[in-house]
């Protein structure tokens, strides 16, 4: 039975970053600490460090993404790595090549790191297990989002943002709002927030968008926005994908916005200094009102900036620099 945590090596050190679920508190804090100095690099005229010079990083995207791929690419380039972008959804697997065959081919091109996005939960875990089983421990895998499972760098950049604006995690009440069922971001956020000792993590949404037994992840469930938002320090919005808006999960985007959309009036129920986060891309008028996006409490753009520093930290830590 394959029950060894596949992201740790035999010494218990981080070999891959696949999920935040089960990642120890100290490891998360150490990644956030590593990221701090990288935010300054972005302020410099020459935004480059030589930490990953000579390393080949493959952005292996089996699912379309511009934003996440771009931030990984920028992070890698600021560390002086060579970056190759592969949109596999349009190339080899379409010709019938298996996931692991694709990986083996790229390994033969001396890859040092894979940044993987895949529509199926667990795909990056499978790649990591495959590399381990074939003795290629020098190659690292970063999960850039797999199915509904995990999006660990997004979770980490969210934690970085919260720490930046709020400091101490252990006094916070955090609400995650929207489509938790289909969200890898929400799963990574919940794992990180609980690991970092946030005393109350809430999820708010209709029953159709909250998974069965979600309480077992250590969250409080709310269906009513007013009750759920009352007194929170951090509001984390989730994206609602178009294909979920009209059908058996939700009747219409209009009704969703009316009940669960974040407006200034609803936000007023949170603490006055509450911050509003969103992993992007945002749907104005669907899950969040423009006034909130453009308002003083939104920290959505700082999230993007911090995201690059956090990804630089993860890449440099995995590559052992």
């Amino acid at each position: 039975m394959r029950n060894r945590n596949p992201q740790l090596n035999s010494n218990g050190e981080l070999q891959h970053l696949l999920t935040l679920d089960g990642l120890p508190h100290e490891v998360i804090v150490s990644i956030l600490d590593h990221a701090a100095p990288f935010t300054e690099v972005a302020e410099r005229e020459v935004k480059k460090l030589p930490l990953l010079r000579g390393k080949s990083i493959f952005n292996l995207f089996f699912e379309n993404s511009t934003r996440t791929r771009t931030t990984f690419e920028i992070a890698a380039k600021r560390l002086s790595a060579d970056v190759v972008n592969l949109n596999v959804s349009t190339s080899s697997t379409a010709k019938g090549e298996s996931l692991l065959d694709t990986v083996d081919n790229l390994c033969a091109m001396q890859a040092d790191m894979f940044v993987v996005r895949h529509a199926a939960s667990g795909a990056p875990v499978l790649i990591a297990q495959h590399l381990q089983a074939t003795g290629r421990d020098h190659i690292h895998v970063i999960n850039a989002g797999d199915g509904r499972h995990a999006h660990p760098t997004q979770g980490l950049l969210d934690m970085y943002t919260i720490r930046h604006f709020k400091g101490d995690f252990t006094q916070l009440t955090v609400a995650i709002i929207g489509d938790v069922l289909h969200s890898r971001v929400a799963r990574s956020q919940i794992a990180a927030l609980t690991a970092l000792g946030v005393p109350e993590v809430r999820v708010i949404g209709p029953k159709t968008l909250l998974p069965t037994e979600i309480e077992k992840l250590g969250v409080r469930v709310f269906h009513d926005m007013s009750a759920g938002l009352r007194g929170v320090d951090v509001v984390m919005m989730l994206r609602l994908q178009n294909e979920r808006m009209n059908g058996a999960l939700l009747p219409t985007p209009q009704e969703y916005f009316k009940v669960w959309g974040l407006t200034s009036a609803k936000l007023a129920l949170a603490k006055p200094d509450a911050i509003v986060m969103h992993p992007g891309p945002i749907n104005r008028g669907v899950e969040i009102d423009s006034a909130v996006v453009d308002g003083a409490q939104a920290v959505i753009l700082p999230q993007v900036t911090f995201g690059i520093a956090v990804r630089m930290a993860v890449m440099s830590m995995l590559a052992g620099q």
Binding site: M1, P6, S121, G122, Q129, L217
Partner: protein, 425 residues
Amino acid sequence: MKIRISNGRVIDPANHTDSVEDLFIANGKIIARGAAPDGFAAERTLDASHLIVMPGLIDIAARLREPGFEYRATLESEMEAAMAGGVTSLAVPPDTDPVLDEPGLVEMLCYRAKKLNCAHVYPIGALTLGLGGERLSEMAELVEAGCVAFSQANVPIVDNMVLMRAMQYAATFDFRVWLQPLAPFLSRGGYAHDGEVANRLGIPGIPVAAETVALFTYLQLAKITGARLHITRLSSAEGLALIETARANGIDVSCDVSINHLLLCDQDIGYFDTHCHLVPPLRSAHDRDALALGLAEGRINALCSDHTPVDDDSKQKPFSESEPGATGLELLLPLTLKWAKEKNLPLTTALARITSDAARLVGITKAGHLLPGARADVCVFDPAAQTHVSREKLRSQGKNTPFLGLDLPGEVRYTLVEGRLMFER
């Protein structure tokens, strides 16, 4: 060939006997137990001291993958596995390619199996053509060709009117209808039990309601049509409770469980172990415990391997893209022994679930017991030895099992089919 199996502890669950005695075999039959018949001169004597002698196992669900999936397994490879596992009779589900919906195909399968001269094969015919859930198969012809029951394998009928008609038609002849409780829309797009583990891993879930809602329908239709209903591969405590309620209301329904669902639960998926991708999905630990108890108390009638050899390539994929199923022919006995040990069950009770009880479901009368006159299908195993589960040792072409790497109790020493010694170790 005349064979004497001497000094073994002979367990015959059908007749509730468990004692050290000799077994005498001639002309493919068991001719005596205890004292040798007059003038019996054994051509071969198998010393079974410290070993257990039992009827050959009857596995009511084993996919041999022929025809159509020969890259996953062949009759040859799986028959060898059956012999190594002490399995002398097996019922095969109709989900081959083409589907077992035509008398000619069933005859060919029986002919091929007979030619190999190993385990006896009992085909289960498709209830509807191509398992398509639209047109009835030629059930009467299929039974003549050798089918012992009719099923939809893991492909549920969407149209309940067709299902009712199929059950009515089968009931006309008193044919057995074996159904997997799987509501089509509730199970669609799911790959694991809808619970904490699937939620953590982000695997789309299959709710228990996929089983219970289907059961409500099947049980109701059995009541109306009078069909002889057997429920295959139960996965949940609630499903079992529904069956018991139906029985209390006078509906005659039997059910079985697989070795996987008896001993594993969704937690065993660990980090996306695709060997635990099964149909139905592995459910909670609570469900597993309820099934293990239900089988011990006989509320679940039989235990099967649900043997499904899958090639490595189809397993080395992300969980939801991988092919479901696990190999199990060679593990049926060791896992039965493991369950018996955990439940502290007498062996006569435990072994009944894979011999006499299973025989009853398939309608086998001349095997599954050890009375004189029975077909000499016999399994002899060493209860003190262990079966180590490894890719190298498995004879099945499918190496896919969640039990890889484990040491399980018991090891088969001899397998006899109709008095022929087919396997020894």
